[in-house]
C-alpha cells in the first residue's frame, strides 16, 4: 500500500512523515517518530493512555489516523515541560505522588492540561468528570484529583 505524506506540527516543531492510510496517529508517534510518551492501553479509545491535544481538542490518538494530522497542531506529553521547567501539573503530580506505575500519567497530564485550559477553576466533581476518560488502576484517583486541584490553584496565582 502506498504511503501518505503528511506535514504537521508536533510540540511546535514542523514534522513530515510517511504513513499507511490505515495507520493510527498513535502508531505514527510511537513507531515512526519515537515519541513513546503516549501509550497504547486498549487501542479502542477507552483508557485515555494515548491522549494528545489536536488543535486544542483532547483526543485519543489511537482513534485518529496519522493522515489526519496533516496541517494541524499536535501536542504530546513530550512538549509539556518548557525546557527544564516542568509544567505545574507535572510538578504537582510528583509532589502528590499522583502516580504509582506511571503508565497512565502522560494521558492524565494531557487531559488535565486540556481541562484546566477550558476551566481554570474546576470543582472536584468537574475534575472527576473531566478526567473520566482516563483509566488509572493503581491510585484510586484520590491523589490525581488533589494534584490537579493544587496545580489549578498554582496556575491561577501565576
Amino acid at each position: 500500500m502506498a504511503g501518505v505524506a503528511v506535514s504537521t506540527t508536533i510540540n511546535g516543531d514542523d514534522v513530515e512523515f510517511l504513513c499507511q492510510p490505515d495507520e493510527t496517529l498513535l502508531d505514527v508517534l510511537r513507531d515512526r517518530l519515537g515519541l513513546t510518551g503516549a501509550k497504547e492501553g486498549c487501542g479502542t479509545g477507552d483508557c485515555g493512555a494515548c491522549s494528545i491535544i489536536l488543535d486544542d481538542r483532547l483526543v485519543c490518538s489511537c482513534l485518529v489516523l496519522g493522515a489526519e494530522a496533516q496541517g494541524r497542531r499536535v501536542e504530546t506529553i513530550e512538549g509539556m515541560a518548557q525546557g527544564d521547567k516542568l509544567h505545574p501539573l507535572q510538578q504537582k503530580f510528583l509532589e502528590h505522588a499522583a502516580l504509582q506505575c506511571g503508565i497512565c500519567t502522560p494521558g492524565f497530564l494531557i487531559a488535565a492540561k486540556d481541562l484546566l485550559a477550558k476551566n481554570p477553576d474546576p470543582t472536584e466533581e468537574e475534575i472527576r468528570f473531566g478526567l473520566a476518560g482516563n483509566l488509572c488502576r493503581c491510585t484510586g484517583y484520590d491523589k490525581i484529583v488533589r494534584a490537579v486541584q493544587d496545580a489549578a490553584s498554582v496556575m491561577k496565582g501565576a
Partner: protein
Amino acid sequence: MGFDPRYLERNFTSVGTRPIRPDGLDKVTGRARYGADFNMAGQLVGAILRSPHAHAKIRNIDTSKAEKLAGVKAVITSADLPDLTDGNSEMYAILDNCMAREKALYDGHAVAAVAAVDARTARKALKLIEIDYEVLPHVTDVDEAMKPTAPVLHETVFTEGVEPKPGKPSNVAKRTQYGHGDIEAGFGQADFIVERSFKTEQTHQGYIEPHACVANANSDGTAELWVCTQGHFVYRQHCAELLGMEVSKLRVTSSEIGGGFGGKTHVWAEPVALALSRKAGRPVKLVMTRDEVFRASGPTSATSIDVKIGARKDGTITAASATLRYSCGPYYGMWAELGAMTAFACYNLENVETVGYEVLVNRPKVAAYRAPSAPMAAFAVESAVDELAKSIGMDPVDFRIKNAAREGTRSSYGPVYGPIGIGPTLEAARNHPHMQAPLGKNQGRGMACGFWFNFGGQTCTDLNVGTDGSVSLAVGTMDVGGSRASLSMVAAEELGIAYEHVKAVVADTSSLGYNDMTDGSRGTFSTSLATISAARNAIKVLRERAAQTWDIPVDDVAWEKGHAVAKGEKYGNLPALSLKEIAAGAGNTGGPIAGHSELVADGAGVSFATHICDIEVDPETGATRVLRYTVLQDAGKAVHPTYVEGQYQGGAAQGIGWALNEEYIYGKDGRLQNAGFLDYRIPVCSDLPMIDTQILEIPNPNHPYGVRGVGETSIVPPLAAIANAVSNAAGVRMTHIPMSPPRILATIKAEQAG
C-alpha cells in the same frame, strides 16, 4: 550472614518522610520506558493466533500458506516449543498455556505465532494459518464444572486429597481442608446461626499496560529479553527452562511496569517471542492487544462459597465453617486453598473448618490477583458475620472486636499468631468520625475486615559508594509503585546521609544475584531488609577505611549520623570523618567501597485491615454510588507514608470495581463477550469519592524498622464492606458479586414479592 533482622525501636530521619520518587521525572515527562517503548535494530513484529473455541482438539495445523507470504520470517506452533519440563507440572501448565498442544482449552488459547516485517503482514499471516479443530463440549461455570455430567477437561485429572482415590477423572483437581476443634459441637452451642451461599464472578487485574516484550535470541545460545514483568529473574528462569537455555546466557532487563497486581508473575507470551526470534534469527517485539490481555492473560477465580457461622446470645462465635469452590482455568492451582486458609483468619475461633475445591474450567489460566483468593472468601464470611451481628442485635464493629484474633490466637489456617493488628484496626474504625457521620435516605454504611499473609523471599542487593560519597543502590525487585523511593530512604537512613544522595535502580538479571519477584507484598519488606544488610556491610568497610586512615583499631571506630567517629578518650582530638571524606580517599585505602547482601527475607508478618464505606442505592434502578470510603490498615512502619496511602487507596478502588461492576461474561458458546475496557468497566475518576486512609503502625518484630508488606491487604475487605453497605441501604442481602444495577434491582424486587 550475621544479619540480625529483629525490630529495634529507634528515631528515624529519612524513614517516614515523603520525598519525591527518583523515577518520577521520567514518568511525568513521558520518557520512562515501558514494555512496548523499546526497539531493537532489525526487529520483527510478533503476533499470536488464538483459539476461537472454548474447548477443541487440535487435529492439524497447516502453516504453509502463512510461511509463503512475503515478509513473514517465522511461523511457530507447539512443535517449536517442545516439552522440556521433565515432569514439572507447574511449568508444563505454563508451557501449555503459552502454546496449546493437543487441545485448545479456552477462548483465546494460543495455538500458533508468526514474526513478520510489520504488524500488517503479521496479522495477514495469522489469517493464512489453517487449523483443523474438533470442537468439544465446554464448561465455564465453576458449579457446573463440578457436576458429574460436566465435560471433563483432562482425562488425567483425578481429585487429589480425597479418600478413597476416585476412579473417574473430573474437573475437581484437589480438595483441601483447614481448621481445628469440633464444628458440630460448636454449632450445638450456638443460639443464632447464619447460613448462606455466595457467588463472585471472575475479574481481571486490569493493569493498563498490556504484556509486552522484545526478544533477541542468538544462534550461539545466548539471548536478551526486554520485558514488563513483576519478576525478571523469575521470567528468566521460566524462559530458560522452557527453551532449554542456560539461565545465565539469557539476560532479562525489566522495563518500567505499567501495573501487574499479580498478573505479571509468570510468563504468558515471552517464550513465544524468544522462540520466534530463535527461528527468524532476528529480534522480535511482541505486544498483546487489550483483547488478548482479557482473553488470554490471567484473571482471578470465579467462586461459589457456602458459609455457616454460629454464635451465642452474648456475641461469642461458637463455630464457623465454609466450603469454597474456585475456578482455576484449565490448570491446577491453589486458589481455593488460599481462600480456605484466609476465610476466617480475622477471628478467634474454637471450632472452625474450611474446605476448598480447585475447579478446572474452559477459561483462561487463573493468575494471582492482589491477595489472591482472599477477597472472595472475605466477601462471604464478612457478609455472614454482619448478618449474624444483626440477628444477635449487636453493633457489627463490637461483634467483630469481641471475636477478633489477637496475639496467642490459633489462626484458622493453623499457627498461633504473634502481635497482630486486627484489633487495633477495629478499635480505630469504631473511633473514626466516619462511623458517626449521618446518613440520608437510601444510604447505608457497611464495614468489613480483611487478612493477608504477606511474604518475603530470596533477595539480593548491591550498594556502591561513589568517590564523591553519593550512593547507588541496585535492587532486583521490580518497582511497581514507588519502591525505589522507599529503598533509597532506607539506605539513607542506615548510612546516615541525605535521601538525595542515594540513587536506586532495578538491575538486570546479569548484574545482580537472583531475586524472587515483586509479589506477596514483599517488595519493600524484603528489599529493605537486604538494603539494610548491604548498608551495614558497607558501613563495616567504611569503618575499616577510617580506622586505616587514623591508624587505630577498627573496633574503636563507630558509625554515627553518616560519619566515622573514633571512640575513646585517647582519640579526643580526632575530627569525625564523613562518608564523603572516606569515599574520596577510597582509592588509597583499599579501593571501591561497597556493601552487598544476599538473603532470604522471611518473617514478613501477617496484615489486617478494616474498611468502612457509605453507599447510596437508587431503589428504582438498582444503581449505586460510593459516597465515602475509609481504609484503616496496619503498615508495621510506613517507610514512605504517601505511597503506603496510595497502596491502600488503589486496593480499595480495585475492590470497589470488583464489588460493583467488573465481571467476565461468557456466552453459551464459551466465548468471552466483554474483552475490552468499554464492556469490562473498571472504576473511573467520576465513580469514586476521595478515599480516606489511616495508617496504623504495629511494628513487625522481624524487621529492624518494623516494616510489614502493605500492597495486597487493601483489596480484601471492599467486596464485603460494600455488600454490607448495599444491604443496609436497600434492606436486602446481596450474595452475588458484582452487585451490578440489574442484580440489585432483581434482589429488591424478589424481596418485595416476598
